[in-house]
Symmetry: C2
Subunit: 286 residues, 2 copies
Amino acid sequence: METVQHMTIFGTGLLGASIALGLRKAGFSHAITGVGRREVTLDAARQLGCFSDLVLQDDAWDRLADCQLVVLATPLRWFEPLLEKLAAHQHEAMVITDVGSTKRKVCEDAQRLLRMPERFVGSHPMAGGEQHGPAHASAELFRHAPCIITRTDASTASAVALTESLWSTLGMRLSQMTPAEHDQRVATISHLPHAVAVLLVELAVREQSLSVASSGFRDTTRIASGDAQVWTDIFMTNREACMEATDALIAELRDFRDRLDRGDEHAVHDLLHRAKSARDHWAHGG
Amino acid sequence: METVQHMTIFGTGLLGASIALGLRKAGFSHAITGVGRREVTLDAARQLGCFSDLVLQDDAWDRLADCQLVVLATPLRWFEPLLEKLAAHQHEAMVITDVGSTKRKVCEDAQRLLRMPERFVGSHPMAGGEQHGPAHASAELFRHAPCIITRTDASTASAVALTESLWSTLGMRLSQMTPAEHDQRVATISHLPHAVAVLLVELAVREQSLSVASSGFRDTTRIASGDAQVWTDIFMTNREACMEATDALIAELRDFRDRLDRGDEHAVHDLLHRAKSARDHWAHGG
């Protein structure tokens, strides 16, 4: 982040505001412009005191001339129109990244729409949870959480280095993948679990069994309380990988059902024991 | 609990010890005998100071003559042999209940094995989580949690009343169901979610994606860290309802996959929105 004198964050909600707060806490003292779509969001972000400037989108474009880093932190659905507009204001010294939960679409859009696609690098900082808005923002939101960097074939080394520097400064654990590999992995460990949580709630409601649900159900379905529009965008921009992951889970459920049907106690125990060991190892930082 | 001068708890692990602690905290001052299978477990339970007596199983039977309430709080697999032995020591003044997570099998076993099946009432206090052993026991474990009472066709009103009194004294929220209805409902809100958590871990391990898993995955799969033997017993004693619940989830997953395949954004959003509303309502005590 040493080369950055001015950065611009599109979206001043939970993620955008937490980036600004985290950078201030890490000692970043240069300009951070926050861009919002409504005055009321800008007012809420203003309370945090971490943005040097807060402007509506129409006023943002002319300010990009001296900007070295742009972060797209809006909902996924705005990425494509934003990239379209950013194309006209791109310059060699500006790197663009994003915080989207899916990466193939935004990376393809960047390749297609930007005049200098080599200055775009995808990012997925895996933090946030169910809460939204700058009121929940925190300088610590990203600390110790994983961040996946998805460079495109075009991305230059310097653009990747600056993007990595942003997330490292916020305390994240970095890894690199292709956009396709990212989307497949998060389909398995994030998008499919979300769909399952939603469907378990659906089944429980249909059977009118929520009244006897307890702490286990509460944990398992917590993510089903995530924002419906945010998650619709995620599923719609990662359809293929989510369908594949769904097929894989259906196959596992069939196999589990067969073990029960056969009354095969050992096969059930093996499965439970293996999963418990793997999860315990992972949960304890293994 | 006014009529109880002496109660016996088979099993002095997390649940059995928490019952004794909770009763003491509620002011129950009469005899509580704890029965264990190994001296080391009895020693651990002795530290808690809530049992008036702790004995090995072989020494338990002769002490049942003046006992008005017996609670089976061992792992599920020991219920059948325990009921078989209890039959010889049953008397009119003694009510028997249990803490098992499945109810059809124990209620059928009680009907079949006991000399006085009318003195048996099934219970499922829904508390506990992943931890085991008397060291994790707490007088507050059961407070505000749901407890499902499953009377059999034979159960007398007085036996049901005493069983309800036990769990009410510990602060639980009571409901009554048939054993079959219980097993079907918990298959949906507890056993199926457990199987799904296990299978999601299995898929993540196979894809080597655990390294990028985050807090959502941690919550969704928390129950997969439950004891493998305890959960094997649960699945094996609730096979039919678990197979039905698995089939229902497979049907839901297929429907979800179809929505993605059609690119039907509205249908995906409807599903997510409905589940979020239902879960939020439930989680906030609705």
